[in-house]
């Protein structure tokens, strides 16, 4: 970039920088975040996969009796009859149940994600912003929650409160919170230690305004990664609980539950298991691909103006010590695992 600048000595009165400083204003604007996400093929694939399953789950319930000829719980014929996808052990139409069985899973997962990420983000942000005892209390409490695997915690709650929808949403959301809080806290403390936050403090900008104008916009990257990741794990957790028979209850048509109901007859009538398994697999893979692409974009691992510039600047000593991106410590790997990695300092995500 810099080499193209012809060397013009004493460039006139106004030139504040004589010899065309390498990263000068001629540079293109930084590529927008959404652009950087979508520039990755994996992201496109992720959106397509997620969109497909979403379509089935959302449109499915509206076409069920009309299109398939049977309601999801109505008797369609002899058990294990062969047909398009056949009937299940109670003689219900597999296709109808499949088409109607997705929206609850999606809704509960989305609600749990919103709850978990919202709660975790707020707690993490306050912990980093306020520091001191509030920070200590929030994070220690998080450590305690982290010691119990998400699923085990959910089982504990279901034992006591029963397998109800709001219990699933609540317990999955709450168990996401400390994991999200950790990531957001580290991103926020990176931002809070920046001088522009100090400058706002100096100008006596109200705290809420500092949070909303200085902090939040600068942690959007990790926050979006968390949304994608937690959605993947919420889907997995809700479906797992239904599969265990501890989520949705019969006779509700639900993908997780269908797998549970039909797996005994896997060799006799595989469709009852295979359809929902494929749907869940495609959905989680899709959301995980999106989360990964978002992580990549926010960690600057995608080629952009800035990374190209940085590359050529590695040649000389980087005078700018400050990294442009808040270090992430998310891991679109281990969400539900107890404890996010505190290990590799930056982006354990993967930088694939």
């Amino acid at each position: 970039m810099s080499l193209k600048n012809p060397m013009t000595p004493s460039t006139g009165q106004l030139a504040q920088q004589s010899f065309g400083h390498s990263e000068s204003r001629g540079d293109a604007r930084p590529v927008s975040f959404a652009r950087r996400v979508l520039d990755q093929p994996a992201a496109k694939l992720g959106f397509v996969l997620t969109g497909l399953v979403l379509l089935v789950a959302v449109v499915g319930p509206f076409v069920v009796p009309a299109w398939t000829g049977y309601g999801s719980n109505s008797f369609a014929g002899k058990p294990f009859r062969t047909g398009v996808f056949g009937t299940d052990n109670l003689g219900r139409d597999v296709l109808s149940r499949f088409l109607e069985g997705g929206w609850r899973l999606l809704m509960y997962s989305a609600l749990a994600t919103v709850l978990g990420v919202g709660l975790g983000a707020v707690l993490g942000m306050f912990a980093a912003f306020r520091r001191g005892w509030l920070d200590a209390v929030i994070m220690r409490f998080g450590d305690v929650l982290l010691a119990i695997p998400q699923l085990v915690f959910a089982l504990l709650a279901v034992t006591v409160l029963g397998p109800k929808g709001w219990v699933l949403v609540l317990v999955i959301g709450v168990t996401h919170a400390p994991r999200v809080a950790r990531v957001i806290r580290s991103a926020t403390s990176g931002v809070v230690s920046e001088d522009y936050v100090l400058a706002s403090q100096m100008y006596a900008v109200p705290q809420w305004k500092i949070l909303s104008r200085d902090v939040v916009p600068n942690i959007m990257g990790p926050l979006m990664v968390e949304v994608g990741l937690r959605l993947t794990y919420s889907i997995g957790a809700v479906a797992s609980l239904s599969f265990l028979g501890l989520g949705m209850q019969p006779p509700t048509p639900d993908w997780g539950l269908m797998i549970n109901e039909n797996r005994i007859a896997l060799s006799l009538q595989p469709w009852g298991v295979i359809l929902p398994v494929i749907a869940i697999a495609v959905l989680t893979v899709g959301t995980n691909l999106i989360a990964d692409a978002v992580a990549g974009a926010s960690a600057g691992r995608v080629r952009s103006t800035r990374s190209a510039r940085k590359k050529s600047a590695t040649a000389a000593r980087g005078v700018t010590a400050t990294s442009p991106d808040p270090a992430l410590s998310a891991a679109p790997a281990q969400g539900a695992a107890p404890g996010e990695t505190p290990a590799p300092e930056q982006n354990a995500t993967k930088e694939l």
Binding site: L151, L155, T159, I235, L246, N288, A337, P344, K350
Partner: protein, 315 residues
Amino acid sequence: MILKRLGVSVFVLLAVSLLVFVFTLMLPGDPAQAILGQQATPERLAALREQLHLNDPWYTRYLTWLGGLFTGNLGTSAATGGSVNALLASKLSASMVLLVISAVVAIPVGLLLGTWSAMRRGRASDQTLTGFSLVLAALPEFVIGVVLTTLLSTTVFKLLPSVTMAAPGMRVWDYPLQLILPSLTLILVVVPYMIRMTRTTMIDVLDSGYVEMARLKGLPERQVIFKHALPHAIGPVAQVVAMQLAWLAGGIVVVEFLFRYPGLGQAMVDAVNNRDVQVVQALSMLIAAFYVVVNLIADVIGILANPKLRTETRS
């Protein structure tokens, strides 16, 4: 420093026990009633209340329960009326077998593939492996399990048993073939994470100034990797392994249920269905303790592998 970590671990465990205990208090209505159902006679209810110490104040019950945990008495199962210890003893060993097999396979495979991938960064083999692990990492355990069952045991090939045989008195390992599917599922669940995180750690280390310096000093590549790079990866990798072990401990619930494997996970699901709070509590504590211990070990390894932390400990 190690002592400090130990203190934190003890604190976390105590806090977890309190949290787990609080759940019993949240049981709606009368736990005895819930267990026995609407038809229960008042005498039986009273007897059960007495048996469960329901008439004591909550802190006495907590201390009794906690004391029980320390002395190895996990309480009485409300559903079967027998002791929780007896209920879980045989299942513990079955689950341990599964855990150990999975860990012994998964840890070396994950670490080696992760390191290999990091060293071949950017090449086709690395990209394939990372892409593959990204997809696998997204799948819930039961999806992997069902797919494996379909492939290897029912629809496509019929090689392996899809359900565990465990007649009373028989041990799971008496028939080793039935261990393959559950272990394979667990392995496939944790290996992708290990690959990805090991890879990230190794890339960090390989990109570091001291590794570049070691090369500029003209050291042989083997020495650069084994003497300069690897020691720095020990601490972070120990964390990764600890996390995955803890994850396995949670993952056995679904996998055991799927394969009807007579272990702790299956017991847990049964207990939840029976609303057998004592058993669920005991298992939660057991799993939490496993998590805490494994993490503590990883922390200690991290401290010992890092001269800076180590020397701080000494002073």
